[in-house]
């Protein structure tokens, strides 16, 4: 478990593709709030932002995606409500809980049409995005580490949004993403290691500025991105 099955790499690419029609394009992964607050002004700021986000919100999402994938793979959907509750406890900001549930619902709606499976409706009305990602990975025959990597990749949405929010050279943005590939793989590995752990013990790193900025963003008069 944990290694990419050579026969399934295409499925992982499908799931992680930014063009998967699940509405992710409307979100900047917290970058717009950070730019508006004046905390991300240049490429160095952007890289530190993306690194910190991957290590916090990214790792939490990855761990829960991996855990959901492991449970779905053994047909244990009854364990998902407990994961939902643990995930809620790790997100103090109601706005970020809502964003996660909105994105989860969209992924559920999209995957339910793209690759119908009874698991998608069993997820309930507005499941958190990492749990849907974990279940979707399982349904596509992928493992916990794949699910973790897919959500970590998605969590980097800020990079794509940077082109609209900042004066950037898109090559430099992708240079940041290229440097981040190693750390992202490491995080996915860590997430997969806890896939079968007690949900209470899953990682819970906080990101105080992301929480604060998200609540300000919801009340902003003008914004390009929903979050």
């Amino acid at each position: 478990m944990g290694q990419v099955d050579l026969g399934r790499q295409a499925a992982l690419l499908l799931l992680a593709d930014g063009r998967l029609p699940a509405g992710g394009y409307a979100h900047s992964g917290g970058l717009e709030p950070a730019v508006i607050a004046g905390r991300v002004r240049n490429m160095a700021d952007l890289e530190a932002f993306l690194t910190g986000r991957a290590q916090t919100a990214g790792l939490v999402a990855a761990a829960f995606a991996a855990a959901a994938c492991a449970r779905a793979s053994r047909d244990d959907l009854a364990a998902l409500p407990e994961l939902e509750a643990e995930f809620d406890a790790r997100i103090p900001s109601p706005e970020l809980r809502k964003v996660s549930r909105d994105l989860g619902r969209q992924l559920q709606r999209a995957m339910g049409s793209i690759h119908p499976h009874r698991y998608f409706s069993a997820l309930g009305r507005a499941p958190h995005q990492p749990l849907v990602m974990g279940v979707a990975a399982s349904v596509l025959g992928l493992g916990p580490q794949d699910a973790a990597l897919a959500i970590l990749h998605d969590n980097n949405a800020g990079a794509a949004a940077a082109a609209k929010l900042m004066r950037v050279d898109p090559f430099e943005v992708h240079a940041i993403l290229a440097r981040a590939t190693g750390p992202l793989d490491d995080l996915a590995r860590r997430a997969a290691e806890t896939a079968d752990a007690d949900p209470a013990d899953l990682p819970a790193p906080s990101a105080p500025l992301a929480d604060i900025a998200a609540e300000h963003h919801r009340r902003a008069d003008a914004r390009l991105f929903a979050s």
């Binding site: 029609p21 699940a22 394009y25 409307a26 979100h27 709606r109 119908p116 902003a220």
Partner: protein
Amino acid sequence: MHDHPSHNETRALRLGVAGPVGTGKSSVIAAICRQLRDEFALGVITNDIYTDEDARFLKSAGVLPAERIRAVETGSCPHTAIRDDVTMNLIAVEDMERDFAPLDIVLVESGGDNLTATFSPALVDAQIFVLDVAGGGDVARKGGPGISGADLLVINKIDLGEHVDVDVDRMVADATSARKGGPVLALSRKRPETVEQLCAWVREMHKTYAAGGHIPVDPGPMAPHHHGEGDGHTHSHGHSHGHSHSHGYTHSHD
């Protein structure tokens, strides 16, 4: 699994309204709501580039109860939200239909984009494309999928024609030619008879849809290219002409 009612009696007519920025999409929707709210159970989904400005406009205009007007934030990709990735809008429409069942018509307003933005047939059953005379008299001739393939082309603000040196009749004729005879409606909210024509079209479309006689058609993706303007006629490639409905005109792209 998902709420995909397949029968028209349990699902509203989903009517898209697209068109460039500032041509009056919101006021077309406001007019439809004002005129038809006693006849039909209506809901509106707006798509905005920045926040929820259009939803606020419609709510403040009081054309429908505020809870029947909902905004989808499109991440400054209004085109994507109605075409490549309709999931957010689809969920918004399905929620609206569920929360206020039974609805007759859900209007989906696209965020103002350009001439190439049209709704995916996965999202709407029929669509109106809105131009205005202030955008220039030659816009209709330039064509594009929205102009040539929408179920109805509205040329709005015709009362302004004389102020912007646009010959409205000529513009309507150009548009009709670009649409190969498809319906074109010259509209001004200051001319009640044109608003009534708009409503008559909506009524007719709803009737056809409810009877199962309307099959969503795709105006077409971004046109591969346009011909020059010399012949006064523009068309986009890739269209194959299919069935007809009550307006005697449609495209099919299967």
